[in-house]
């Protein structure tokens, strides 16, 4: 058992209102620079939709992530031999058009435009070429189902849906969508790290944050092709690639990352998970339907004395184990099993989990009677407006069971709380639903609390960074003893 700690995340999609505050917070801090204009380390997508870059989930085109070839795990985009043959031209690069051409506006035109019959406008101007630009795409072009016939209809997750289900998604008065905020998943088996010919990408030992060393990066851009989530970006100005750093300077000082901190819907949770690194390869090789369970099994119980002992032996600090025991992520992922990894079939073992969103049919109408309660208590899980297969493609590697489990439990908790606070449904039914959804009263209360009444400290359990120990690994703290302090850089000259 090789116990390591990983700062992991949960995004509660049922709470996301798609306000993009997270994206703006991130943009303002990290990517408002030349060369980084088009980058959105954090972005919020509308589902169904093609996202950013366009149709990033379609690995037939982008070749991101891992695949099993004769029982061996290999990157789709590159390999040991192909790294060399493709070193000067990596063939699977998204073009700028697949992201979008960043632009600003020529505001001077508002003041300088010659007099005419129309109001002058601020003309869009490209931030790359400086020329006037006819905007064709943006980072969130299909927001709130904008341009649905083009974008939403081409969502790769619609694979396997019947034409009726597809129709239903965009039917008038049943139209439905939800939001899907994305950052780097800080995967356990990151494709970007494996692909880099220069060894510039690495997974930080103490907390598993995946970082890109700006000094070692040689702009081969293998990482960009290899990341199935397209969360590594090439900066054309510095000639280096960049990615989400999980605001590690904030984490190291005990603050939540900017996108977490600024989240209006409070959908984001952050905490430590202890996992067994020995299992990474074997888990990543499992067949699709076993991946979610295997991934979950890698996460270790921070209360298990054997785990604690192994963690301490591996140099995990006691305070980190303490954080792991309080981790909200552990509860969502492991205890309640209602948070699921996105597209685990890419086999990078992402450490950002999503609580799938509810989209219930609130009432059914027969003639003049409007019925809010049906005999089948969970009827609206399978009849919800977002087809189960769509969610399964996104969060279940194409298999519905795990998604259905998560949604049933959420529904049962809602019903239980409705019985308590509103009282228009009877408690007996609520209790039956809890039992059927594999949930106890205590668990329901805990889920309700962490979902609805969570404080800042409940949501973000950030382990102490112990930079002092990290520094001791690199250099001797006594090294400069007796050699610093008050003195002269150059000898003082005596006299005049």
């Amino acid at each position: 058992m090789d116990v390591r700690s990983q700062i992991s995340m949960v995004f509660h999609l049922d709470k996301c209102i798609g306000c993009h505050t997270c994206s703006i917070a991130c943009k303002n801090i990290w990517t408002d620079r030349p060369g980084a204009e088009y980058m959105w380390w954090n972005n919020v997508e509308t589902k169904p939709g093609t996202g950013y870059p366009t149709a990033w989930e379609d690995q037939e085109k982008y070749k991101g992530g891992w695949e099993l070839r004769d029982g061996k795990l290999g990157l789709k985009s590159t390999g040991k031999r192909r790294t060399i043959t493709n070193i000067f031209h990596h063939p699977h690069q998204p073009s700028m058009d697949d992201y979008y051409e960043p632009w600003t506006y020529d505001y001077q035109n508002l003041f300088n435009a010659p007099e005419g019959p129309d109001q002058p406008t601020a003309i869009p101007i490209s931030m790359v070429t400086g020329e006037y630009l006819d905007i064709e795409a943006g980072p969130n072009w299909d927001d709130d189902l904008g341009g649905s016939p083009v974008y939403a209809e081409n969502d790769p997750n619609l694979d396997g849906l019947t034409p009726e289900q597809r129709e239903q998604l965009s039917a008038v008065e049943r139209l439905v969508f939800f939001y899907f905020p994305r950052i780097c998943n800080h995967c356990l088996n990151p494709g970007c790290v494996a692909a880099c010919p220069s060894g510039a990408l690495y997974k930080r030992g103490e907390d598993g944050i995946v970082l890109l060393d700006q000094n070692r990066c040689r702009a081969w851009r293998s990482c960009i092709a290899a990341c199935p989530y397209k969360k590594v970006f090439y900066n054309w100005s510095t000639g280096k690639s960049e990615k989400c750093i999980l605001c590690f300077p904030r984490i190291e000082t005990g603050q939540a990352p900017a996108c977490f901190h600024s989240c209006v819907g409070r959908i984001r949770y952050l905490g430590v998970l202890l996992y067994d690194a020995e299992q990474i390869e074997s888990v990543a090789k499992r067949p699709d339907e076993e991946l979610i369970d295997a991934h979950r099994d890698m996460v270790l119980d921070p209360f298990d004395p054997a785990v604690i002992e192994a963690a301490l032996a591996n140099g995990v600090h006691e305070s980190v184990i303490d954080s792991a025991q309080k981790s909200p992520v552990y509860k969502y992922v492991k205890t309640w099993k209602i948070a699921l990894p996105p597209h685990i079939e890419f086999r990078t073992l992402p450490m950002l989990f999503y609580v799938p969103p509810m989209s219930p049919v609130m009432a059914s109408r027969e003639g003049e009677t409007v019925d809010h309660i049906s005999d089948n208590l969970f009827h609206d899980i399978d009849e919800s407006r977002v087809p189960m297969q769509f969610l399964a493609n996104l969060f279940g590697a194409g298999h519905e069971a795990k998604v259905r489990y998560a949604l049933r439990k959420q529904k049962a908790v809602r019903w239980y709380r409705r019985a308590i606070t509103v009282g228009d449904v009877d408690m007996e039914t609520a209790m039956r639903m809890l039992t059927e959804a594999d949930c106890t009263v205590e668990e329901a209360e805990a889920i309700y609390k962490l979902t609805s009444l969570c404080t800042f400290d409940d949501r973000f359990v950030i382990p102490p960074a112990h930079r002092e120990e990290a520094i001791q690994m690199l250099e001797d703290p006594m090294e400069h003893k007796q050699s610093v302090g008050f003195g002269f850089v150059a000898r003082p000259r005596r006299g005049m």
Binding site: T50, A55, D58, K61, H92, Q93, D97, D98, E136, A225
Partner: protein, 305 residues
């Protein structure tokens, strides 16, 4: 900023040469220095002069081998004095233009060809060369007697062998490059020869006779040929067939006007296009674009509806 002389030392100035080369360079330097200091014609400088003569003079002159483009230099110092000869060697063109009658006569004898100013010529070197010519003149058969070519007609076998040498089918003994890599002649067939150097169909006519052509080949003096063949000279038994071959070409007359040149261009063009089509097929699944085709496809679909 602190910097030590050590850190500024540029790497590998002397260390990169092999020991043998360094020794030879050292010896040559020593020889040059001793020549200048003592004015003594040492063995080393005699050897150097012979080498210089072979490389620079032999394509136009012999010692006791008869006239080529330039006169036979045997007993040249009995025809003119040292001072005049040295002056002429240092600046042949200037001497002719100064109205010197003997120089003018020489030019006439050479059918108007002006002796080029030899690069690397100096007063010391001219003296050394004249010493060498004097010494060689006294010998019964000088090493610079030049190529002796029989006057009779060449056999078909000689011409065929010359063609093979020209085409590189027979490798040159001293590993020089074959003629065809830069030159062409009439009647080569196929794609013809190289186009870098001039067409050699009429080279025999240009150099007037067997002897001048043969001597020219012995030590090609032009700036492009000299560096290539200086260390890989042609052997006498390679020059004879080549001369036979060139004589044969000249007798046939005409220049290489075959369509080989156009063919070569067309084959290159076709090959490039084929290669590009091949690449496109081999990598037809490569990433091109996602968003634009997606939008275009959706627009097309809507148009059909």
């Amino acid at each position: 900023m602190m910097s030590t002389p050590h850190s500024q030392q540029s790497p590998g100035t002397t260390g990169s040469r092999p020991a043998g080369v360094r020794l030879v360079v050292g010896l040559l330097r020593l020889a040059a220095v001793s020549t200048i200091l003592f004015g003594v014609t040492s063995i080393a400088s005699a050897q150097e002069a012979a080498q210089f003569f072979r490389q620079n003079c032999m394509s136009c002159h012999t010692i006791g081998g008869g006239r080529l483009t330039g006169p036979d230099l045997k007993d040249v110092s009995q025809r003119k004095d040292r001072a005049w000869l040295t002056k002429f060697l240092l600046d042949p063109k200037g001497t002719i233009e100064s109205g010197d009658p003997y120089a003018a006569q020489l030019q006439q004898e050479a059918r108007g060809v002006v002796m080029p100013t030899v690069s690397g010529m100096s007063k010391e070197r001219a003296e050394a060369l004249l010493d060498l010519i004097d010494a060689e003149s006294k010998l019964e058969k000088s090493q610079f007697v030049g190529l002796q070519i029989p006057d009779g007609p060449f056999s078909e076998a000689d011409i065929a062998r010359g063609r093979d040498i020209f085409l590189g089918k027979i490798k040159l003994v001293n590993t020089g490059p074959s003629c065809v890599s830069c030159h062409t002649t009439i009647g080569l067939g196929g794609l013809g020869g190289g186009r870098l150097g001039p067409d050699l169909s009429k080279v025999y006519e240009r150099l007037e006779n067997r002897k001048t052509l043969g001597s020219w080949l012995l030590a090609p003096p032009t700036t492009t040929m000299q560096p290539v063949f200086r260390d890989h000279p042609l052997e006498a038994d390679e020059i004879l067939p080549l001369v036979a071959f060139f004589e044969d070409r000249a007798q046939r007359g005409g220049e290489d006007t075959s369509p080989a040149r156009l063919n070569f261009f067309l084959i290159g063009l076709g090959g490039t296009v084929l290669a590009l089509v091949g690449f496109d097929l081999a990598w037809r699944k490569r990433f091109r674009a996602v968003r634009r085709p997606l939008v275009k496809g959706a627009e097309l679909k809507r148009g059909e509806r």
